[in-house]
Symmetry: C4
Subunit: 210 residues, 4 copies
């Protein structure tokens, strides 16, 4: 392949990934359970039933924001990648597998955040994000080691900054998964904080302008 074709292939993989992110983020709402007549009666009216769904809203917003921030990060590293190969394709696929899975632990968390099994639900939620962080690391490090698939004019400080940022994801999400058995609230709080942390932009650009 020549350079134009390589750029096209990379753009196409990114467009496909964007589509998967957009769909996964939009599907989250289907996981909010609409209360039926019996449940409304049990809660003493629709208003109370809707209010008592707060764990669903909390889980929904957290997953939405986390996927959105992961999308920004995915895009950021793809601005540094200039070509793809079969292994990068596989690591990107693994990452998408993790992203599309998010609605499931979100529903589980929403259903158990205020119940007996909140520890297991929070651990499952944080554990899913630990696995996604692993996929992000595989994708990035595979592309970045020895500048294998990065742009030739890549800013080395940018690579260092991303390396640094990505070093945190796996251990902290794993810690959040373990701490869930002590305090589900702390576990969930760490997930929220980590999403916000990853939203903080790096001031470095993939390419330094002359």
């Amino acid at each position: 392949m020549n350079e134009t074709e390589e750029a096209n292939e990379t753009a196409r993989l990114e467009t496909f990934s964007d589509g998967v992110f957009a769909i996964a983020i939009t599907l989250l709402v289907l996981e909010i359970h609409v209360p039926d007549a019996a449940e409304i009666a049990e809660h003493g009216g629709l208003a109370q039933a809707l209010i008592d769904l707060y764990p669903s809203y909390l889980a929904y917003v957290t997953s939405f924001v986390t996927i959105l921030i992961m999308w920004i990060n995915h895009h950021l590293i793809f601005r540094a990648i200039s070509r793809i190969d079969h292994f990068l394709f596989m690591f990107n696929g693994l990452l998408l597998l993790g992203i599309t899975f998010v609605p499931f632990p979100t529903t589980v968390l929403a259903g158990h955040l205020d119940g007996d099994d909140s520890d297991v639900a929070a651990a499952f939620f944080a554990g899913t994000f630990a696995l996604i962080a692993l996929c992000f690391n595989l994708l990035w490090r595979y592309a970045a080691i020895g500048n294998r698939l990065l742009r030739r004019d890549i800013n080395p400080a940018f690579v260092t900054a991303i390396n640094f940022r990505y070093a945190f994801g796996i251990p902290i999400y794993s810690f959040a998964a373990l701490i869930a058995f002590v305090s589900p609230e702390v576990s969930f709080g760490i997930c929220v904080l980590l999403a916000i942390l990853y939203f903080v932009p790096t001031r470095l650009q993939p390419v330094t302008l002359p």
Copy 2:
């Protein structure tokens, strides 16, 4: 980033947003409950059961048209925006969070429009749109104040016109949410009217042609 890259980033955010709008609008149909055998018997046949679903159709069409018109408005302001930054990204993300949430209040409204809790359901429906109007205002005003992220050749009359149009959304949708407790029908009617109002095109263009 240079100007080409800025334009690319803006286009990419808009494409992603378009995808979310398209998916949210298409998911609405999943919220129309297919009547089962017991329900059909209760309604005295499939024909009557389908007719008695009219609140679902009404809610479906209203939400569909409202999201569609919001998409037009989203596109209109993005024709005026020439670059994005991290905060615009966040406000756009909040807006998409609101848009993807719409199927849920739509289902709630569809299930209660002709029942006892119609006041709560209509208030929840209008309240959701009040929040979306708030997100639209945040997005637009953040970009427009001091021409922060607008095109350099932006038509000032266009900015004034959009400012004027957006000033109505939050108070009127909020009023609709409150009036629901007096008359759910009036509340729902205001939501329909407001969507139509926002469909009325502004004759002004973001850029005046020489």
Copy 3:
């Protein structure tokens, strides 16, 4: 707007519409009901339960193929349209409203094709397509009358051919909806035939090459 901007706007509306078509066509599978343990026992095993879902498969394939062919036709008329205005936008929106609704009558038909209410289900199915045919006609005729929104170099024979093709949709689908009360099978057969008919390509191109 200048011509480049007009072409961009038209392309963007078409991309959005394409997205809605792609999502609507993919959602159809969610309407195939997965048999649970009780239903499997009732049918005497999974194999028989899967075979007895044949009305679902039939409805699924018919809706899939019909939406796909409508997508081709949508694209064909957009190859003739060079600019959009607010009313075209509205008619296109109405058409998408019809397209996204298709999974619902498809599920109803799948659940009743071999039951007592097959007449109502078949009429509802054909009636939906009659309404979609109406939207297609509104969209096309609004753009075509007096060459309002068509390309300046449009081939008049192409316009005549599309006019001719579209004249059939509403009456035949309406007839299919009525005949359902006499024979649901004939009604469904007409829907299948009409889809195939609309798949037959017109040999005319929107623009004649010099």
Copy 4:
């Protein structure tokens, strides 16, 4: 149509197909059944209930990876195709029909992989992929025979390689469907192996660079 228009039409069909692939792959997660209170009690807690969902995870990952690899292969053959006609359109539509159907046999497999009907479920799963392999063959061979729709500068060795690869799909998936009645595990294993096999890249490019 001239060559630019032909290229546009081909790109548009591919973009539409990409969208369908992206949606189908993301919908898979909806098929993982969220355990309700009664099921959790039966399994003795949420943790065990989530672990006992392993057939769902297995089916989910297998379908995800298989669709992803099919997407790569779809893209590979579209890099060789330079124009489309009505029949190619139809064969591509049939292929998409198969792809969008995958969530259904996946759910059936997930629900029966460890039960009495595992033979039927595995046969249904493998049989679906046999049909998809048939659609892939129709699409490719229709385009490739006599270089009907391929690029003029196509690399003949590439055509031979794809012909060779595609010759395996139908017989092996069909064999997997039959062997399911002897051993569902072997059948499922063949499906997994075949996906991996199709992931192995061909070193040949559609066009040889000068």
